[in-house]
Amino acid sequence: MAASYSTSELMVVRAARELLDGEVVFVGIGLPNLACNLARHTHAPNLTLIYESGAVGSVPDRLPLSIGDPCLVKGAAAVCSIFDVFQYYLVNEKIDVGFLGAAQMDRYGNINTTVIGNYKNPKVRLPGSGGACEMAIHAKRVVIIATQNLKTFPETVDFITSPGQKANGKTRKDWGLPGGGPTLLITNLGVFKFDSESGEIFLTEIHPGVERSDVVSTIGWNLQMAGDVTETPEPTADELRIIREELDPDHLYI
């Protein structure tokens, strides 16, 4: 019987299980950081954590509060310049998995983190690409973590910052994109994969206690489903202990 847990904890655990031992991960702050470090503390001790600030092989001894936190440098295997981290690691196809968040995402995993409304006269100015555009292009696979609602999952995004499986009507192959693009979406309600033919997301797992109608009603298009939608596996007591006691003791993200 699993202990009680928050939705964030479930998402972190689900994301962690997606990472294989020995892989190289481009880590983001927040839930992705917790997921990567959870994996490192459990089934994937040889996971290499790279942060876009240039920290390589980080072993953070506290919760990093930015992607350039000094705890990512102390005890790391290497530190490299921004030039290196983008050219020699990311563009040079050394990154197995990247994580992306989304202010808006469409059915193909095209992500908008640039602007709500018109670019020239924005309703809301969002942060922009940072390293996201290249991660979407070059990482072997991308895991998207987002909170579901109709604003976040509209039929069409206002701006494509980072291309998904089909962008502006062209497939990744048509565009010549070297990386695999988004392969998994984890939201507060369920888990989704991308159809290899259509490039569209489809629901594969639904979180314990969530109704299928909640999932469908917070997505702005006719959502596809797997033939066998399963229940997202619950966190183990050990996973929860690591998250709560070691990774995020002040409960900033969980």
Binding site: S53, D69, P70, V79, I82, P127, S129, P163
Partner: protein, 303 residues
């Protein structure tokens, strides 16, 4: 040779002119707020501000009316939310319109690399499928003469002035940096003039005991400013930690224009220098953020 070592007030007044394209560098680390505050105090105007992450530092400069243009690639409060000064300028032209020119991190880094390498452009394997090129006509392309495939390009960026913070330098400006090094080296080589700001001015023998550690050679440095705690609320590896409480608090401070103005009045216009600022912070804050000692293993340069 005339000494390069000078005060921040002198360096800013000599090397930063209205209308200049300026980079105050440091990727999450070594962000020289001391320089930004002095620029605000000297009421520099119509600057083109360039940084990958505008961060709180440019949010303050924009809110203070120093900028007419921003070149950037990620405009958030790292780990802590929005930059409301910047957003008011873009969304509502407050206090004045702000032209923006936007890249991905990689694209903007490549502009500085091209500037440092004296290349007119830099080729970047990027932007395919993204809408960024549709809103930035500076993102163009060339055809590879070997594969015949198209590849995106960005133009060189050569700032009028680069301000880079380092842990230590000698009086010639040979500057050593460890921890996150960002795009500081390329920015220094790309800029027409360079101000290096340091936590510690050290004897040349300290620098020369470890030449591989020197990120920026003195020959490209015009002024050296010694400004301990000069990056607060940012951090300096081995000296002091980021003041994350302030980064979080900035959300509330900057959300309301009048509270942001009060911040500028109290912490920037209201203090004469970084020394005054540190004094105002108080010894408890300084000691709270002070770094513990974790020394590197020395290496042998003998032969």
């Amino acid at each position: 040779m005339e000494s390069k070592v000078t005060t921040m007030a002198d360096a800013i007044s000599r090397f930063v002119e209205d209308g200049f394209t300026i980079v105050i560098d440091g990727f999450t680390h070594l962000i020289c707020f001391a320089a930004a505050h002095e620029i605000i105090r000297q009421r520099k105007r119509n600057l083109t501000l360039c940084r990958m992450t505008p961060d709180l530092i440019y949010d303050q400069m924009i809110a203070a009316g120093c900028a007419s243009k921003l070149i950037f690639s990620w405009a958030g409060n790292p780990g802590a939310g929005s930059l409301f000064g910047l957003r008011r300028a873009i969304e509502g032209q407050i206090p004045s319109p702000l032209e923006i020119e936007e890249y991905s991190h990689f694209g903007l880094a490549a502009r500085l690399i091209a500037g440092a390498a004296n290349l007119p452009f830099y080729p970047v394997q990027s932007y395919l499928g993204s809408d960024l090129p549709t809103v930035n006509p500076q993102i163009r392309s060339v055809t590879c003469p070997y594969t015949e495939r198209s590849i995106a390009t960005v133009p060189a960026l050569n700032p009028d002035i680069a301000i880079v913070h380092a842990q230590r330098a000698d009086a010639d400006g040979n500057a050593q940096v460890w921890g996150i090094t960002g795009i500081q080296k390329e920015t220094a080589f790309a800029a027409k003039n360079v101000i290096v700001v340091v936590e510690e001015l050290v004897d040349s023998t300290v620098i020369r005991s470890d030449p591989n550690r020197t990120l920026i050679p003195g020959m490209v440095v015009d002024a050296v400013v010694v400004e301990p705690f000069g990056c607060h609320p940012s951090y300096v590896q081995g000296y002091y930690d980021r003041d994350n409480d302030f980064y979080v608090a900035w959300g509330d401070i900057s959300r309301d224009p009048s509270s942001l103005d009060r911040y500028l009045d109290e912490w920037i216009y209201g203090v004469g220098s970084r020394t005054d600022y540190v004094e105002k912070l108080g010894p408890d804050e300084v000691s709270r953020l002070k770094a513990e000692l974790v020394l590197s293993t020395p290496v042998n340069y003998g032969y």
